[in-house]
């Protein structure tokens, strides 16, 4: 047997099991009070099965998966099927009487084992999952990546899950021996296939696949040893040196990789601290610290790059910095004076060329280092942003449901935090419930009022922002007038330079407090919106301030000072430093004092929460300053490293001492995405734009810095290209420069191509969205389909009180059905179920065949009279259905017409039918009644459709009705069979 078909066969087998098992929990559960509404929802709707339920089903790519593996085999396979079903069915209660008493009467072991072992059939959701994935895979080649990546293991899980079933049937009854054997065979098969699949994989994939199996360690070990033994036996047969070598190499690579991984983990900064914070405050607060650490890494990288490629060559070139100015101490704050003559700023770098083994041109080195660093930063940001967008936004649920709250439970938090978390979660759950309840209760006047408040607070915050920007501009101009362009300032003058950074930092600290005050008065429908509004205002504010400062630097400082880059560098140094001081003060006053106030003075306020959004914005702002400053002061990252390093500890101490975990949690991952996006979009791009503008358009200082004497910084590249022309063999560089970098046509073409690609991808994503909707609908329809079939079966059984009294009692009982004695009718019912599946399968085959012939599926009434058109050989089930239906039709036509007028829906019919059959009647008449009810319901449907002026698709009712008919016919046959005994 070839592998793929065998695999498919197994999956199909699984499908049967799972389809049968799927409903057992529901049957158990629907007796409880809470559940009753849900278990009935699906099939109380008379319209559903005539809608596109089965139509969609038929069209779906997973269509073939419904095919019954035993269908082809006919009666030969059936003896195998029955015991399998009955043995696998611990929970099928009301309708599926089973030889359950044999298990319950004993020690209940099969039941227990069945439910607790990872690989047991009760885990059939595995299978559902994978079938869902497979459909997904077929259509979305790249979307839904999470599910995609888990696909192989998912499949394997299914195939493998039979493995543990072996143990579970060890203690079963002798009368299940047959089932046991069948299952054992199945399991063996599955195991062999899993192993074979694993053997075919590359070593790396295999390790990953085994690791991804949701099995216990022992089982994984077992599989691994099997795979290895299989492989070694295979290898001994055809041994090749090459294969052995590659095996060796890959093994050593793997070992190396895991060593690197563990080494990295050892080197990981602040591991214990992070765990502590996570344990006490949960993931959302932890995300602030992770973010801080991430930025710190950025800065370490940028420091290393700048130091290595800019500062070291400068130090080698020029050993003796000009130090005729003494160190006064104030420089540490202002960054002026003495520092002006060190490698701290742009001004002290030379434009010489370092002659050594390789000529190192300072100009080019300076420019390329900054450029490459900025580009690398941008790429890193784009990648991290895009990946977190994909996983946290696109896939995330837009609605804030209860699951979101329940799933975001932190397993890492400990002790005190657990209690707080429980409290908060309860409050959040209650809020989400009441939110849902009162969502529609806003009157228009209230809406107007809310809108007015929003408008007012937006106006206020915008004017505040504009006012701050304007005042900073005037302050800068004031400073501009007072400052002279001299090489040395007096102490007072130097101190005056601190005014602007002081005011800016003060504003940065105070204004956000106003913003959060405004948002207290506003009523947002969700908390998320509130946070977004707050973040947006803060971002606008900071952008405004940075914009004003940059405008001032670019337009006024650049003209006035002889070495203006250094002046800007100093200004940035001061901003960075003063901002740091204010951050420290902020965590002291903001958190410590409010803690004191909250605990001692006004207990109503309580211990402050750690405001993740505000804190993250603060460090984003700090990082932006560093990015802008990188051109003007290449060693600014060193200051930034110190700053973040100290800030980490300060914030940690402040958090531990003063704060409590945030009351509202959840969406931490999304907030993190937003912060990364913010860091990239306004802030990093803004900094890049400013640096780009400086290098491209501004004229560098005449007398200092590496670019002295050039028209613009970028002309350094032009000069370099000119130099390259003289070197033979480098003409391709010149060509690239001329034809690509400096050519408008190239960029024009590139942008057009990119636009086209974007458009195509957009269309593709639209299509996929539609497909998602369809697939969801299909799942829903299949669920309804299933529940309808079950309801039908239940009704049929209900309608035979004489034959199955025990079962009837059981159906109404409130206790778990497996405690009841269901032995009398067990196997026959499972048989019926199998038969129904077979019938369904055949009906579907029939449909397929009709479809391929291009015939439209006839509506149900046509079925009645056109049976001769059907290929007789195709499906006995359909034929049976036809016969049963015809019989029913002919016998009850009179009644049918008399009743057709007054009924509302088919539930009524069903009830009527059920009432009728309370008296002991023949099985046939029962069938008639039900079928009649069904037919009338269909008629009703048709009429409804016509009334709504919907085009009644002719083939719509056909599949479902054929299905139902087949099922009914099967059941009838079964009943007759039972009667015969």
């Amino acid at each position: 047997m070839d592998v793929p078909s065998c695999v498919q066969q197994q999956q199909q087998t699984e499908e049967v099991w799972t389809a049968l098992l799927q409903d057992s929990p529901q049957q158990q559960g629907n007796l409880s009070a809470l559940m009753s509404t849900f278990s009935n929802q699906g099939f109380l709707n008379p319209a559903y099965h005539d809608s596109e339920t089965l139509e969609l089903d038929k069209r779906s790519p997973s269509r073939s998966r419904h095919t019954n593996p035993y269908a082809g085999g006919g009666s030969r396979v059936q003896p195998d099927v029955y015991p399998t079903e009955s043995s696998l069915d611990p929970g099928r209660g009301p309708w599926g009487g089973l030889p359950r008493q044999s298990w319950d009467g004993g020690h209940g072991i099969p039941m227990d084992l069945l439910s607790t072992h990872p690989g047991n059939p009760a885990w059939r959701p595995d299978h559902n999952h994978s079938s869902f994935q497979i459909t997904t895979e077929a259509h979305y080649q790249q979307s839904l990546s999470i599910q995609m990546t888990s696909l192989p293991s998912g499949n394997m899980t299914i195939r493998w899950r039979g493995h543990t079933m072996r143990r579970m049937f060890q203690n079963t009854d002798p009368n299940l021996q047959l089932a046991e054997n069948a299952i054992m065979a199945q399991v063996e098969n599955e195991e062999i296939h899993l192993v074979r699949e694993l053997v075919d994989m590359s070593t790396r994939d295999r390790i990953r696949a085994i690791r991804d199996l949701p099995l216990s360690f022992q089982e994984k070990k077992h599989i691994r040893s099997q795979v290895l033994s299989f492989m070694s036996s295979k290898k001994s047969r055809h041994f090749t040196c090459l294969g052995d070598c590659s095996e060796h190499v890959s093994r050593s690579f793997r070992r190396c990789g895991s060593n690197v991984r563990s080494a990295r983990q050892t080197l990981e900064l602040w591991q214990g601290t992070m765990k502590e914070i996570g344990g006490k405050f949960g993931t959302s607060v932890l995300s602030y610290f992770v973010f801080l650490k991430w930025l710190l890494m950025f800065n370490i990288f940028s420091f290393l790059v700048n130091f290595g490629f800019i500062t070291i060559p400068q130090l080698v070139l020029d050993h003796s910095p000009n130090t005729n100015i003494s160190f006064r101490g104030l420089e540490i704050l202002t960054g002026a004076g003495y520092f002006n003559y060190t490698v701290m700023y742009y001004g002290s770098y030379s434009n010489h060329t370092l002659f050594g083994a390789v000529n190192y041109e300072m100009q080019l080195g300076y420019f390329l280092t900054i450029a490459v660093y900025m580009v690398l930063c941008g790429i890193a940001l784009i990648f991290s942003m895009a990946s977190s967008f994909k996983s946290n936004y696109v896939l995330a649920d837009s609605s804030s449901g209860a699951w979101q709250l329940l799933c975001s439970w932190d397993f890492s938090i400990t002790e005190r935090a657990v209690r707080q978390r429980k409290n908060n979660l309860r409050i959040q759950l209650k809020e989400s419930l009441s939110e849902k309840a009162q969502r529609e209760q806003l009157t228009s006047s209230e809406k107007l009022q809310h809108f007015g408040i929003h408008l007012g607070s937006w106006l206020l915050s915008t004017s505040l922002t504009v006012g701050c920007g304007a005042s900073i501009y005037f302050l800068c101009s004031y400073e501009h007038q007072r400052m002279s362009d001299s090489s040395s300032w007096s102490l007072l003058q130097e101190a005056e330079t601190l005014l602007v950074p002081f005011v800016v930092s003060l504003m940065n600290m105070v204004v956000p407090l106003f913003f959060s005050l405004f948002s207290k008065f506003e009523h947002y429908s969700t908390q998320r919106r509130q946070i977004y509004a707050l973040v947006l205002r803060n971002v606008l504010f900071r952008m405004c301030i940075l914009g004003v400062l940059c405008y001032y630097w670019m337009n006024e400082v650049a003209i006035k000072y002889s070495c203006w880059e250094s002046v800007v560098g100093q200004a940035l140094y001061r901003l960075v430093l003063v901002d740091f001081i204010f951050l420290l003060l902020g965590s002291f006053f903001g958190e410590f004092l409010s803690n004191v106030v909250g605990t001692r003075l006004i207990p109503r306020l309580g211990v402050p929460e750690f405001d993740v959004a505000r804190n993250v914005l603060e460090i984003i702002y700090a990082q932006t300053l560093a990015w802008i400053g990188i051109y003007f002061s290449p060693l600014l990252p060193a200051i930034q490293i110190l700053k973040f390093f100290i800030l980490f500890y300060i914030k940690k101490v402040s958090l531990m001492q003063n704060c409590q975990p945030p009351r509202r949690t959840g969406r931490a991952a999304q907030m993190k995405t937003i912060f990364t996006a913010l860091l990239f979009f306004p802030f990093f791009l803004g900094a890049l734009a400013i640096v780009g503008y400086t290098t491209w358009s501004l004229r560098p200082s005449e007398h200092c810095g590496p670019f002295r004497g050039l028209n613009s910084t970028f002309s350094v590249v032009e000069e370099w290209i000119d130099d390259l022309r003289q070197i033979p063999g480098s003409s391709w560089v010149v060509f690239i420069y001329q034809k690509i970098i400096r050519s408008e046509v190239f960029y024009f073409l590139i942008s057009i191509i990119i636009l086209i690609i974007v458009y195509i991808f957009w269309q593709v994503s639209q299509g996929r969205k539609q497909l998602i909707v369809h697939l969801r609908q299909q799942i829903v329809n299949e669920g309804k389909d299933k529940s309808f079939l079950l309801e039908k079966l239940q009704n049929l059984q209900k309608s035979q009180p004489n034959q199955r009294p025990k079962q009837n009692n059981n159906r109404k009982s409130k206790t778990r059905p497996h405690a009841e004695d269901l032995s009398s009718s067990g196997s026959s019912n499972s048989n019926a179920m199998v038969q129904v599946l077979l019938a369904r399968q055949r009906a579907e085959e029939e449909e397929e065949r009709l479809r391929t012939r291009g015939l439209p599926d006839p509506p149900p009434h046509q079925h009645l009279y056109d049976t001769s058109d059907m290929p007789q050989s195709s499906s006995s089930a359909l034929a049976l259905a036809m016969q049963a239906r015809q019989r029913a039709e002919s016998q009850t036509r009179g009644e049918y017409y008399s009743r057709a007028g007054f009924t509302e829906n088919h539930v009524n019919y069903r009830h009527a039918a059920e009432e009728d059959v309370n008296s002991p009647t023949s099985v046939n008449s029962v069938m008639m009644q039900v079928m009649q009810a069904r037919q009338q319901a269909e008629e009703e449907e048709e009429e409804l459709k016509r009334m709504k002026r919907l085009p009644a698709a002719p083939q719509n009712p056909a599949p479902s009705s054929a299905l139902i008919q087949a099922m009914l016919a099967r059941q009838q046959a079964q009943n007759e069979y039972d009667d015969g005994y």
């Binding site: 158990q28 439910s115 085994i210 975001s408 932190d410 799942i779």
Partner: protein, 189 residues
């Protein structure tokens, strides 16, 4: 470090590394923590089982509302007593580690939440789950009405095939749409 490494043995260690999501350090740390739970006599017995009560004294699990469920799910004991061998313990840590896949995590989360072990989350399971998360005393529990509403919301949200229960695939679907899950389903020693 040298002693623990020699206790575990190189082959065993590489096998553990291959079959779990843990790194060498994590495995060694886990081994250290696990042997601390053993009594003096037990230390010499291979594959010894540590009873659930002792496992739950670990500070990482001590106050977890699902601690017992976690032990039951990861235990391979025949008696269903939630006792763990070292390998079960590694399994537990592996599923809760940073590098475990979404698939593994959601699978085990589902089993932890499936209190009656019947393979689906029905309303009883959901009720127990909510009670676990909000606290089980009378004053902290949700009222009956609230619970009913909440469970119907949950089912409405996640029960795609409308069979009244949440099965594994539906659960995994929900999980894939709540990005916080992966970062919060984590226990680090």
């Amino acid at each position: 470090m040298g002693t623990t490494a020699s206790q575990l043995g190189k082959e065993l260690l590489s096998e553990y590394q291959e079959l779990t999501f843990l790194t060498k350090q994590e495995i060694l740390l886990a081994h250290k923590r696990f042997t601390e739970l053993l009594t003096r006599e037990e230390k010499d017995i291979p594959n010894v089982r540590v009873p659930m009560e002792r496992i739950l004294t670990l500070p990482e699990l001590k106050s977890n509302p699902f601690r017992k469920r976690i032990c039951y799910v990861f235990s391979t004991s025949e008696h269903k007593d939630g006792s763990l061998t070292f390998e079960d313990f590694l399994d537990l840590l592996s599923a809760f580690s940073d590098s475990a896949t979404m698939e593994i995590k959601s699978h085990y989360a589902f089993r932890i939440f499936d209190f009656d072990d019947d393979g689906t989350l029905d309303s009883d399971d959901l009720q127990k789950l909510v009670n676990c998360l909000t606290g089980e005393t009378d004053d902290t529990q949700l009222t009956f009405e609230e619970m009913k509403q909440l469970i119907s919301n949950i089912l409405e949200e996640s029960d795609i095939d409308k069979d009244g229960t949440v099965n594994l695939s539906e659960f995994q679907h929900v999980i894939s749409r709540s990005p916080d899950f992966v970062s919060s389903f984590k226990i680090v020693l």
